[in-house]
């Protein structure tokens, strides 16, 4: 089964501050260990301040672990320097933000296009917009789109790079239930139809019913790592 594990996290610890520099040390993540298989829809669950964002930052190559090992597709991310991390983010990671973070001066199409321009083997931006159901809104600017539409553009932008891993930070956090459901449905499809590993960070336990795996974090520690054999459908979520 070892070869099926696409993402391996072993004893990852993240400490902020440095006692040697007389700074107060705060351990945000302690000995986190888990692994994820390719194509899984994973939910990282935990209350505010549990260490979700820290874990997301490490998974996305935005921050480095103090100790431990993080391997994605056989590559040891923990050994990468800043330049390699930038390349890692560019080629392997797709990121969906809670507040979409689209470039306000670019149209929906252009927002997707600039991401595609970063990598050689990318998808067609137009087709990506079609995939997220926004083909007709390609010429619109973010401010002319609803929150749900903006998040769809953000997903298209993340996917167009054909990333190994799709990381989503509270993707439905700023959306109403109906729009949230449609976004979650889209991410579900990405995982299942495109066979992409999708990791969603949330504090909303209700969403996790559609997950293949639920990793729960509390006080910087992984308290559970559950594999759901029969996940429910998005429509079954009680918002």
């Amino acid at each position: 089964m070892e070869e099926q594990r696409q993402l391996i996290i072993e004893n990852i610890t993240k400490v902020y501050g440095n006692a040697k520099k007389n700074e107060a040390e705060v351990t945000a993540l302690k000995d986190a260990t888990f692994s994820i298989r390719k194509g899984e829809l994973v939910f990282i669950l935990g209350p505010s301040g549990a260490g979700k964002s820290t874990l997301l930052n490490i998974l996305g190559g935005m921050d480095k672990a103090t100790s431990g090992k993080y391997i994605l597709d056989g590559k040891d991310v923990t050994l990468m320097n800043e330049k390699e991390l930038a390349k890692f983010r560019r080629n392997d990671i797709g990121f969906v933000f809670q507040f979409y973070n689209l470039m306000p001066s670019l149209t929906a199409y252009e927002n997707v296009y600039i991401a595609s321009a970063l990598v050689d083997k990318h998808y067609d931006p137009e087709k990506m917009l079609e995939l997220v159901g926004l083909k007709d809104r390609a010429k619109n600017f973010p401010s002319q789109l609803s929150g749900g539409e903006q998040q769809r553009v953000a997903i298209a932008r993340a996917l167009v790079k054909n990333p190994t891993l799709l990381l989503c930070d509270e993707p439905t956090g700023a959306l109403d239930s109906k729009t949230g459901a449609s976004i979650l449905n889209l991410l579900y499809k990405v995982a299942k139809q495109e066979n992409k590993t999708v990791i969603i960070v949330t504090h909303n336990r209700a969403l996790t019913v559609v997950a293949d795996r639920i990793i729960e974090i509390q006080d910087g520690k992984v308290v559970s790592n559950l594999i759901i054999k029969h996940p429910k459908k998005v429509e079954d979520i009680k918002w």
């Binding site: 964002s53 997301l56 930052n57 996305g60 935005m62 921050d63 930038a86 390349k87 983010r89 560019r90 080629n91 990671i93 990121f95 933000f97 809670q98 507040f99 973070n101 470039m103 306000p104 001066s105 670019l106 149209t107 199409y109 252009e110 296009y113 600039i114 991401a115 321009a117 970063l118 990598v119 137009e126 390609a138 010429k139 600017f141 401010s143 002319q144 932008r157 790079k161 930070d169």
Partner: protein, 920 residues
């Protein structure tokens, strides 16, 4: 009330929390105020210091210089009376003899008067015992020059060698001798002093009075013998050291003034004459007298006896002693005002009337009235009428005061305009950032008025901080910088702290009103929205076409989008850079204009190795002949420079008139003037500055007044000259123009050193009064331009400073505005270079547009600045060399590039977790 207090607290906290955001506003307002208030303080302080000298020295309003007619005292009295009468009810006047002289080898002007002056008196002085009969005050400028060149000082009680050109003294005294009235007075004075008032005295009086012409001949011979050398030097003891209102200008090339009692001078001359008395002149006189009295035995016997005594060598020394006693008697009369002759002589020994006019009268009008009066006279002996505006030594400093005042309005205005731009961009940015907060305040029920007041308070407090800094720094820094120039050029009281309170208060009110208005205009729209609208993310109001294909450079694409989306801000940046580039071009363009003009003068006028100021009263050709005798001199050429009044097209001006040979080797301005200009003896040539003042063009007729005669000539050509403005008349045009040359150009043979020849001429030549080498001429012109050069340096420094402030402000605003985008782009995998490119491209595109547009505004600003600084001495032909445009463009461009590259390094410091934060 509690709400207002809370909002005020919040406002103060917000300012200090976001101080980085406001630092540019504080900085630019502080610079603008430092400049404006500093320049105002300088102008106010400088004017006060100058006025204190003018007031303490009781400076005259009008100077009337005449060619005194000492043959006819009544005419002089009449002229003086008229001049006094046109001065109005409260006028006062004094007369004095104004003549060039030398102390050591320094050219000076002697102000000789019968009593200590009350008009144009020393503004401050230290003195030993002195009175009306005995004062010799030298100015501090002379002492400074003497110390600079010899290392020694001049102090009270020192005896200084004062030299006069004898021809000036001779012509003045000859005129006195030729005045029969004076001789009669002299005889009366002599007779009245004799103890025997009987028959012998009466006889002597009759003899003398019937032989006035013989006495005149005797005195003329005595005078000629006494003043036989070129110059005569007297040692006179200094009993006063002063600053004089007419000699504020103590520049390197300005002559010093000294005050001398005419009684002291006459007494010194007579004492000297007594020592050099020659009895043979008297023998000759009595022999002539004897011939006239042939037949009158009593008289002839008496004369024979006198001649015998005079001829007896044993008596020669005795006679000299007797004559000395007589002269000493005259000296006694001089000092004790006991002689009618001496008193009459002293009261008419003047060539200048200085006049303080009634404050209600206009000096121009009075000057014109005086000029007209003399013109009406059959013998027009007026040399010049000057008022404070036209008197060179006064006008120089008055111009500087005017320039100092005008300077306060030129540059600060440009800085305030840029400050407005920075305020506009920053406030617009602030309001965009604070939309949610504005919405929240509205939602909380805070009135629009209070929200407006809150933002007005923020901006006004920020502006006040900047202004206070400017108010403190300006009066402390600027006057000290400009005083470097003033202390070199002028003798004025020490610098004191001046705070222009009124101007500061007015500028504070205007700036606050302006900033409040700008803030109101920018926030007005935002306030009109509902709370929920304000809390929504702003929708950019643009209609752009989305490009689907052919996007080659994503950084460039984002750049163009940002420029279009933030069009107002982009326009402001363009205007800011435009201003900086235009200022740079203006600063360097002024240098170009000066250099262009200076080079033209050096090529076409001051191209000789030496310029020799000649001793007065030389015959035409005399100086040339003398100078050519020197081994190292290859060629010398004389010309005359005079002042005249010129009329054309019903306009009149006072100007220089140059009499130059048509075949001059040195004057080359006419080389390219073609027909009518070059060598046309029937026409005169005019420089463009004077042509403009006279509204004259080629072909017009010009009338000028020369020695009281009016001459009319057609203008043959007009050309631009830098500092040699006036009318050029060929010496060969009319014999009437042949006059005493006062300047000579000298070309030195190869292998000889100009400084050596200069030294040799000064030591040995009788015709060289003062000499300037080519290098010294350049120094002199540059000396004239020192204030302008200082100004251009200031412009250039501030322009670069301005460019840096504007561009840093923009770059920081851009950066802060995009922090979240930058974080997002970093998360998406964009490299620092790609992100930086987008930011740098944007600024560089705007900078390029601004710089290119700025190229067109450089010349108009230069014309504005130089137009304000127009002086009679210099004419500007506005020139900007191509390299100035290139350099200015490059400075703006490179400053923008460097600033942005430096700021781009901050991209790596932007935490990627910024992208995870909520939208503010």
């Amino acid at each position: 009330m509690r709400l207002a207090k809370s909002l005020f607290k919040k406002c103060i906290r917000d300012i200090f929390r976001n101080i980085k955001q406001f630092i540019s506003i504080i900085f630019i307002i502080a610079i603008s105020c430092t400049l404006y208030i500093g320049l105002e303080a300088n102008a106010e302080g400088f004017e006060k210091r100058v006025n204190s000298i003018f007031t303490n020295g009781n400076l005259s309003d009008i100077w009337v210089t005449i060619n005194p007619n000492l043959n006819d005292f009544s005419e002089m009295d009449e002229d003086k009376l008229y001049v006094e009468s046109v001065g109005g009810e409260n006028a006062s006047s004094e007369t004095r003899l104004y003549m060039p002289s030398e102390i050591y080898s320094f050219s000076t002007y002697a102000l000789i008067s019968p009593s200590f002056p009350t008009i144009n008196k020393p503004a401050s002085y230290e003195f030993d015992d002195f009175n009306d009969n005995n004062f010799f005050f030298v100015d501090e400028g002379l002492i400074k020059k003497y110390k600079d060149s010899t290392g020694n000082t001049i102090g009270l009680g020192d005896s200084l060698p004062v030299s006069f050109q004898t021809n000036t003294l001779k012509s003045t005294l000859t005129q006195v001798i030729n005045n029969e009235e004076t001789i009669t007075l002299l005889i009366d004075s002599l007779i009245s002093n004799m103890t025997d008032n009987g028959v012998a005295t009466s006889l002597l009086e009759n003899i003398l009075k019937s032989n006035i012409s013989s006495i005149q001949n005797l005195l003329t011979t005595l005078l000629n013998n006494y003043l036989s050398s070129e110059s005569i030097t007297y040692n006179i003891e200094v009993n006063g050291i002063m600053t004089h209102p007419e000699n504020i200008d103590n520049g390197k090339f300005s002559n010093s003034y000294y005050l001398l009692s005419s009684r002291l001078l006459l007494s010194t001359i007579f004492s000297d004459m007594a020592n050099k008395f020659m009895p043979e002149n008297l023998v000759e006189f009595f022999n002539e007298l004897k011939i006239q009295y042939e037949g009158n035995e009593v008289v002839t016997l008496l004369i024979d006896e006198v001649i015998n005594i005079l001829n007896d060598e044993n008596n020669s020394s005795l006679i000299t002693q007797i004559i000395s006693l007589v002269i000493n008697d005259i000296n006694y009369s001089i000092n004790h005002k006991s002689s009618t002759f001496i008193e009459s002589l002293l009261s008419h020994l003047y060539n200048q009337i200085v006049l303080i006019i009634d404050p209600n009268l206009d000096a121009d009008l009075v000057s014109n009235q005086i000029s007209s009066y003399f013109k009406r006279k059959s013998n027009n002996n007026l040399l010049a009428v000057f008022d404070r505006k036209t008197n060179g030594s006064i006008a120089g400093i008055t111009n500087d005061i005017t320039q100092a005042k005008q300077l306060t309005y030129v540059f600060p205005i440009i800085f305030f305009i840029v400050a407005i731009l920075i305020v506009l961009t920053t406030v617009a940015q602030l309001i965009l950032k604070e939309r949610t907060q504005i919405g929240t305040m509205k939602a909380l029920g805070i009135s629009k008025g209070k929200i407006l007041l809150y933002y007005l308070s923020i901006m006004d407090i920020v502006a006040i901080i900047g202004m206070i800094l400017g108010f403190i720094l300006g009066p402390l820094i600027l006057p000290h910088i400009l005083n470097i120039k003033y202390s070199i050029l002028y003798q004025i009281p020490a610098l004191t702290y001046v705070f222009p309170f009124k101007v500061s208060l007015i500028s504070l009110i205007i700036v606050l009103a302006l900033i409040s208005l700008l803030t109101y205009l920018l926030i007005r729209k935002e306030l009109s929205y509902s709370a929920s609208e304000s809390m929504r993310v702003a929708t950019p109001s643009f209609h752009l076409k989305a490009r689907k294909k052919n996007i080659k450079n994503t950084s460039l694409m984002m750049t163009f989008r940002n420029i279009k989306v933030h069009m107002t801000k982009s326009i402001m940046v363009i205007i800011g850079v435009l201003g900086c580039t235009a200022l740079l071009i203006c600063g360097m363009g002024i240098d170009d204009t000066i250099n262009y003009g200076k080079d033209l003068d050096l090529i076409n006028f001051y191209n000789s190795d030496l310029v020799v100021n000649l001793a007065p009263g030389l015959e035409s050709g005399e100086a040339k002949e003398e100078l050519m005798r020197y081994e190292g001199i290859e060629y010398a050429e004389e010309y005359s420079l005079a002042q005249t009044q010129v009329t054309c097209n019903n306009r009149s001006i006072n100007t220089n008139i140059y009499f130059i040979s048509a075949n001059s080797l040195f004057y080359k301005y006419d080389d390219n003037l073609g027909e009518g200009g070059h060598g046309d003896l029937n026409k005169v040539i005019l420089t463009s500055q004077k042509a403009e003042k006279l509204n004259a063009k080629v072909g017009d007729t010009l009338t000028f007044n020369l020695d009281g005669k009016f001459e009319s000539y057609e203008i043959g050509a007009i050309y631009y000259a830098f500092s040699t403005n006036g009318i050029i008349v060929y010496q060969e045009t009319s014999e009437d123009f042949i006059r005493s040359p006062n300047i000579a150009w000298v070309k030195i043979k190869d292998g000889y050193n100009a400084n050596d020849i200069k030294e040799e001429l000064l030591a040995n030549s009788k015709v060289a009064y003062s000499i300037m080498t080519y290098d010294e001429t350049i120094d002199q012109i540059e000396g004239y331009m020192s204030s302008v050069s200082q100004m251009t340096t200031t412009i250039k420094i501030f322009a670069i400073l301005l460019a840096v402030v504007v561009l840093i402000n923009l770059a920081i605003l851009n950066f802060n505005e995009r922090k979240r985008d930058i974080a997002t782009l970093r998360v998406l995998g964009f490299s620092m270079f790609e992100i930086a490119s987008s930011l740098v491209y944007e600024v560089m595109i705007l900078t390029t547009i601004g710089s290119i547009l700025g190229l067109f505004f450089g010349m108009p600003i230069e014309m504005l600045v130089l137009g304000i600084n127009k002086v009679d001495l210099i004419d500007w032909e506005y020139v900007i060399y191509p390299q100035t445009y290139v350099i200015s463009f490059l400075i703006s461009f490179l400053t923008a590039l460097i600033v942005n590259i430096i700021i781009s390094f901050r991209i790596n410091k932007v935490s990627m977790s910024e992208s995870l934060k909520s939208v503010e």
